[in-house]
Structures are given as structure tokens and as C-alpha cells.
């Protein structure tokens, strides 16, 4: 179980996280939503120890992660930031093998190779294993990275905007895989997302942030509410039902449609 207690973080004078308390729901996909600058990525960074908070602590099964070795945390928590440009040329297989580093410290054993193989198969990148990462499409590359995270074999997986630069097809595919990972492999996944409809369709739980604080959290049904979303984004939402699911529309609603656009 991961808990955050009284986390505050600031960049210079600006507070990005303000006394945040949070318990991550186990074996669920949690979506972090909020406007730009609300503190989502910072929250994820603090959760995964990329950032050391100014005050407060993160507890992993009751133990503060400050007291744990980085190597041991890496066996239980994995994070993937928005895939940034690499300046090394590396094959998919090598990348996925890095996922075993916390376990093998660079010396791959048979059990490690098995995990790598499993991860390659699971993410459907086995046939790409000898290709270089810069030769792949955005969707394939993202799958390769997730395969590395899978090879790391952690219970907790944090993803910072994994759908960035993916088209609809790949985005749906990615979210479906994440759902499968929760169901089959019992992972706990936290995702920073921009598209609320994607969050509503695939997540189990939504946390809404604004000005460095968690202002609402709850099930999809509860969160997909006009009053809540209006408040979170300071924007005018319209909630509709499609095929029994709640969907929100946030552009060109009746009263704001401008004649000139037609």
C-alpha cells in the first residue's frame, strides 16, 4: 500500500503541492487529472521518489521510502515519464533488459531472461526485439517502454502522460493493455492524463487536482459530474451519456458556439 502524508513541494516561491494526503487504491487504475500546472506530474514525481518533497513522506506498506534503499524501492515501484529523446541507440531487447537492473544489477540470469521474454510477449513487441528504438513508431516505442516497466516486475506502476503523441488507436490499445495488466497481473497503476473521456472509459478511480491540492476524488460515476469538472478545470463542461457511459464535451457548446466559426 502506498500512502502520502502531508506532502508539500515548492519550486522556488511557488507551491506546487500543498499538504497533500493520499492513499493509492490497490489493483486499480487511478487517473490523475487537472489543469496544466495543477501539480499532477509533481505529485507523480514525489510518489515515485524522482522528487524529494519539501515536507511530508511517502509510505510503502507502512515504511517511509526515505528509509529504503533505492534498489529495493525499484523492485516495487516503477515510473515512466513522458518518453523523452534518448541520445543512445538501443534495441528494444536491450531496453527491456534494463528493466531487470534492480534485480540483476546488470548480470542477467536465466530467470531474468525469462521475465524479459515474458514482457516482450505481453506487450507484443517480441518481433521488434532487434529493432532500434528510433526506427519504431510512437505506439511501438511506447509499448517497448511499458515492456521494460513490466520486466522490472513491480507492483506499482506510475505513468506520466503515456498517451502523449499516440493516435486514438494506439491510445485505446495502450489503455486496454493497462486494464489487462491490472486484471491479470494484479498491478496498481497511476496515470497522469489529459483526456478526461479516456480516464472515464478506462480508469477505475479519478483524482482531480487543482492548485497543488487534491480537490476531489472518487469513482468514475461520481467524478463525471458537471459541477465537479467545472470546478476542477474552471471551464464549462457538458456531461452526456453514450452507450451507458458518461462522456464530457468541453468545446463549442450551444451558447458558446460562435457564428464566425461556421
Amino acid at each position: 500500500m502506498i500512502e502520502m502524508k502531508h506532502i508539500t513541494h515548492a519550486y522556488g516561491e511557488i507551491k506546487v503541492l500543498d499538504d497533500v494526503n493520499l492513499t493509492i487504491k490497490e489493483e486499480k487504475i487511478t487517473a490523475l487529472i487537472g489543469a496544466n500546472g495543477a501539480g499532477k506530474s509533481t505529485l507523480l514525481g514525489v510518489l515515485s521518489r524522482l522528487l524529494t518533497p519539501a515536507t511530508g513522506a511517502i509510505y510503502l506498506d507502512g515504511v517511509s521510502i526515505n528509509q529504503m534503499k533505492s534498489k529495493d524501492i525499484a523492485k516495487r515501484i516503477a515510473i515512466l515519464k513522458q518518453t523523452n529523446q534518448l541520445n543512445i541507440r538501443i534495441t528494444v531487447k536491450d531496453l527491456v533488459s534494463f528493466g531487470r537492473f534492480p534485480h540483476s544489477q546488470g548480470r542477467l540470469k536465466d530467470s531474468d531472461n525469462m521475465k524479459i521474454e515474458e514482457a516482450l510477449q505481453y506487450m507484443n513487441v517480441k518481433d521488434l526485439e532487434n529493432r532500434y528504438l528510433d526506427e519504431l513508431s510512437g505506439g511501438q516505442r511506447q509499448r517497448a517502454y511499458i515492456a521494460m516497466i513490466l520486466a522490472q516486475d513491480t507492483k506499482y506502476i506510475f505513468l506520466d502522460e503515456p498517451l502523449n503523441n499516440l493516435d486514438m488507436k494506439y491510445a485505446v490499445e495502450m489503455m486496454t493493455i493497462l486494464q489487462k495488466m491490472v486484471k491479470e497481473l494484479h498491478k496498481t497503476i497511476v496515470v497522469v492524463m489529459h483526456d478526461i473521456n479516456f480516464a472515464a472509459a478506462f480508469a477505475d478511480h479519478i483524482i482531480a487536482m487543482k492548485d497543488g491540492q487534491i480537490i476531489e476524488e472518487g469513482t468514475i460515476d461520481y467524478m463525471m459530474d458537471k459541477a465537479i469538472l467545472d470546478h476542477v478545470f474552471d471551464h464549462d463542461f457538458c456531461i452526456a451519456g453514450v452507450n451507458g457511459r458518461k462522456v464530457c464535451i468541453y468545446y463549442q457548446q450551444k451558447e458558446t458556439v460562435q457564428e464566425t466559426d461556421i
Binding site: R49, K69, N87, Q152
Partner: protein, 332 residues
């Protein structure tokens, strides 16, 4: 398999360079090296021995420096996430010269800190470590990905340290200045082999320690957040790496003086040849390339009667290569 082939060819070239450097002069010397007169023959044998042993020590100093320069360049490029800059290009060797000048200026040339090569080395590299760590904390940490910015920092830094050194030298007592030149005017043609006794063991120790860090540096080349996610204590590894770089740069600059582009050539040539990102093979190949450049280059230059220096030669090749690399980087 491909790696083995590259290593083999490079090793053959290294051996050839060494033989060339040590013995080629015998073929071109105007003197009769094996006179029939037994008395003269014995004298000649002593002369040959002393020349070869002097050359061997110089060669050892070059090899040690070549390994240090190429490995620091390799590690520096991983730590700063770029493939072009090296510690010398960012002004590390200029800092070393100004540290030496400052030591003479503030402690006089008769102080033990200056006279004893070992204590001098310890104090100077201590300062280098301090300066490079604070440099990193203040500037490099937040600007790792901006190559042009780093280049600018390097330019300012090396100009500043050189100016500072020459300013101190100008207001210094002339006799002090004279004795200072022993340390600051070191170059490949005017090597300071007196510290080889400390340089060699220090090099062996740090290279062994470094090789053990390579697996972490491999992970670190995936970027900071991914490395932390995979359990590498990034900040700690970074600081250790910087200390290593400062130490290695002190040794090589103290022995053979500044050689700006050697690291750049060696590491990038190794990358081109191996097409690998792993540090261990890159380290081996780049060290071999650096040794070839230094030893063979110096050997050839000595044979041409010192028409130019190998430093000039390397700067010419390296400078052109660097412009090419920057242009290539800009295109991608």
C-alpha cells in the same frame, strides 16, 4: 564478434605505435649504433638504453594520460547527456593551470605544497574536485541538455581561468613566475614525468573503481528519471563521477598538459566503430584510440624533427571533427 575485431585491430595499431615510438629513431639516426670498437660499442649501448628507457617513461605517461582523458570524456558525456562536450572543452584543464598559479601566488614557490609533487598533486586535485562539484551544483545540474549553453559555460570558464592565471602571473615576483612555469608550461613535448610514480597507481585504482560503476552509467544513459526508477542513486553516482573526472583531469594535465580535443576524438571514434552504448567496450576502444593518437602522433612528430606538436595536430583534427559533430547534431 564485431567488437572483438575492432579491439584486435586497435591493439595491433597500439603495439605498432609503441614500437614505432620506442625504436624508430634507431633507423634514422646518423650515428653508427653498433660500432666495431668494443669500448665505443659499450658506450653506445648505454646511450641506447638510456634513450629507450627515457622514451618508455614518456610513453607510459602518455598511455596513462590517454586512458584518463578518454575515460573522463566518456563518463562526462554520460553525466551531461551529450555526445560532444568533454571536460577539457568545458575548461577543466584551464582550471588546473589557474589552481597551480594560485598555489604559487598564495603559498610561494618555496612552500611544500608547491615543491613536493605528491602534496602538490593532492592539493591541486582537491581544489579541482571542489570547483567541479560546485560548478555542477550551480550550473550544469539544470542545463544538462543544452549543449550550446554548456559550450558557452566552457568558453567563459576557460577564458576566465586563463585570464585569472595570467593576471596572477603578471603581478607575481619574476623568480616565482620562473619556477611556476615548470608546472604550467607542461606539454606533450615537455612532459612532467616526475609524478608518474603517483599517477600510475592512482590511475589503476580509479579505473578499477570506474569499471565497477559502468553498469550504473549504462542505466544512467537512459536519462535521469528512468535511472532513478531502476534504482540507481543518481545524485550519488553523479557526484562520484565528477570527483573521478576532476581527479583524472588533474593527473593528465599535470603530466602532459592540456590536450583539448583528444577525448572528443577518442570517444566518438569508439562510438562510430562499435555502434554500442555500453560503457565498458566504449572505454576499451576509446582508450586504445587515444593511445594511438598520442603515441603514434608524438612518434611521427619526433621523427619530423618537431616541425609542429602533436597537440596542434590533435586540435586541428579534433576541431574539424567537432564542427562536423555539431552540424550533424543540429540536423537530427
Amino acid at each position: 564478434m564485431k567488437h572483438k575485431k575492432v579491439f584486435m585491430w586497435l591493439s595491433i595499431l597500439v603495439v605498432f605505435s609503441m614500437i614505432f615510438y620506442l625504436f624508430f629513431w634507431m633507423l634514422t639516426t646518423p650515428y653508427d649504433l653498433f660500432p666495431s670498437d668494443p669500448l665505443r660499442a659499450e658506450k653506445m649501448r648505454d646511450a641506447i638504453l638510456s634513450i629507450v628507457s627515457r622514451k618508455s617513461i614518456q610513453m607510459l605517461a602518455m598511455i596513462v594520460s590517454a586512458i584518463l582523458i578518454s575515460s573522463t570524456a566518456l563518463v562526462f558525456q554520460t553525466l551531461t547527456h551529450n555526445r560532444i562536450l568533454t571536460p577539457s572543452l568545458i575548461g577543466f584543464d584551464a582550471i588546473f593551470i589557474s589552481v597551480q598559479t594560485a598555489i604559487v601566488f598564495f603559498f610561494t614557490s618555496s612552500s611544500i605544497i608547491y615543491l613536493n609533487p605528491y602534496i602538490n598533486f593532492l592539493v591541486a586535485s582537491g581544489f579541482m574536485i571542489l570547483i567541479s562539484l560546485s560548478l555542477y551544483k550551480l550550473i550544469l545540474k539544470n542545463n544538462r541538455n543544452h549543449i550550446i549553453f554548456l559550450l558557452l559555460v566552457g568558453m567563459v570558464l576557460s577564458t576566465f581561468s586563463r585570464s585569472l592565471a595570467s593576471f596572477l602571473q603578471n603581478i607575481m615576483d619574476p623568480e616565482e613566475f620562473q619556477s611556476l612555469t615548470i608546472r604550467t608550461e607542461v606539454s606533450i613535448t615537455n612532459m612532467n614525468t616526475s609524478i608518474i610514480g603517483i599517477a600510475l597507481p592512482v590511475m589503476v585504482v580509479i579505473i578499477v573503481l570506474l569499471i565497477r560503476e559502468f553498469k550504473h552509467y549504462d542505466v544512467m544513459s537512459l536519462g535521469e528519471s528512468q535511472a532513478i526508477s531502476l534504482g540507481v542513486s543518481y545524485t550519488k553516482k553523479m557526484n562520484v563521477g565528477l570527483i573521478y573526472i576532476a581527479l583524472a583531469m588533474s593527473i593528465s594535465t599535470a603530466m602532459i598538459g592540456p590536450i583539448s580535443f583528444l577525448g572528443l576524438i577518442a570517444v566518438n571514434a569508439a562510438r562510430e566503430m562499435l555502434k554500442d552504448y555500453k560503457h565498458f567496450p566504449l572505454f576499451i576502444a576509446s582508450s586504445l584510440v587515444a593511445i594511438i593518437f598520442l603515441v603514434l602522433g608524438q612518434g611521427i612528430i619526433a621523427e619530423t624533427g618537431y616541425l609542429t606538436t602533436v597537440t596542434v595536430l590533435i586540435s586541428m583534427v579534433g576541431g574539424a571533427y567537432m564542427i562536423y559533430l555539431i552540424l550533424k547534431e543540429n540536423q537530427s
